[in-house]
Symmetry: C2
Subunit: 224 residues, 2 copies
Amino acid sequence: MASSFESDITGRTEVPDVVVSRLPQYVRTLSQMLAEGVQIANSQQLGEKLQITPAQIRKDLSYFGRFGKQGRGYRVDHLLEELKQILGLTVTWNVAVVGVGRLGRAILNYPGFTPDGFQLVAALDDNPGVVGQEVGGLMVRPVSHLAEVIDSYQVSIAIVAVPIAYTQAVVDRLVDCGIRAILNYAPIMPQVPEGVSVRSIDPLLSLQSMTYYLVNGLSPEKEL
Amino acid sequence: MASSFESDITGRTEVPDVVVSRLPQYVRTLSQMLAEGVQIANSQQLGEKLQITPAQIRKDLSYFGRFGKQGRGYRVDHLLEELKQILGLTVTWNVAVVGVGRLGRAILNYPGFTPDGFQLVAALDDNPGVVGQEVGGLMVRPVSHLAEVIDSYQVSIAIVAVPIAYTQAVVDRLVDCGIRAILNYAPIMPQVPEGVSVRSIDPLLSLQSMTYYLVNGLSPEKEL
């Protein structure tokens, strides 16, 4: 929970994280609509594409002010631009990948981050057999150089793809080096201090919630 | 949204998907507590480990009946067993991986699925250079054998790690073959009919919601 002090500074009602987490999906859908030449979209049309109820869409957007006129829908280009501003997606973010095993290699070779403004600028690992190799166009540096790499490449975000036994220690070091946004691939929830965001990519948790629907013969609600 | 007909059959109040999605995290935490010899836990203690409010934990569990006695906490072994039953985690699920590129290989070599009851039993790809190779102990089969593979290996769940351009077509074929739970790694939301669950693993969406906190100088609420 952000402190009320911070909410006071921004002058904004605190936005639930579940809403913040949905916004990138809005951005993706609006970008597609714009590319298809759609100029105006109402919450019904957005809801169909996003598989979210129109009421939920109106509520989510209401946290950030009034984007549409009653009964007239949203201007797609305007809403897209505003949401990108709100999410900080109008700038490029430099990202370091810590851990260059099979998963780290797949991440470093994935071409999907750059077009959306996330530039992988550094790769680090502690395995002497990996340090010095070129992976995804980057030379792997030893983790002992972390502070220097973060500083010289102006890294704001770290992707952590190290084994579970090392994850918390790596996260602690990243936090010590000033990193405030961490994408974690290990099946644990690293502990971080106030002011640092962690998201975990955990396919096992996704599988384990789908089996609920298999054994109960149900479908999930159509929501993100 | 599951139809009311289905809810009537199970006799259970429909559980929000956000609650279902949290339960695997409960299972993981309770397993750790059990391994550490903890016998009783109250919602406060669970909340600290899970970074969820105690009130939210009590509300989540209330969908499935009364697990704890007022003021006495939950029996860890009992709650764990019940949640595993509810989620369908007391049986082994056979899983097929479609797409054996860099990401598919990382998935097929990941040792973390099996101990939790998800057995990777088949790998499929359409690239003739990959079909016939052994990856993660499985011989890669052509996608044209999909129906036969699903049938003979009793596959219930599919992991789809194919390029975005092929994702919807692969998902459609899986649904035609009777698959009702799909874990998708492409950055799109595949469309599926009622009765089929899809979860997407999408690191870009996670990154794009963390930048909100970076530009606004906030932290996410401490919730899953």
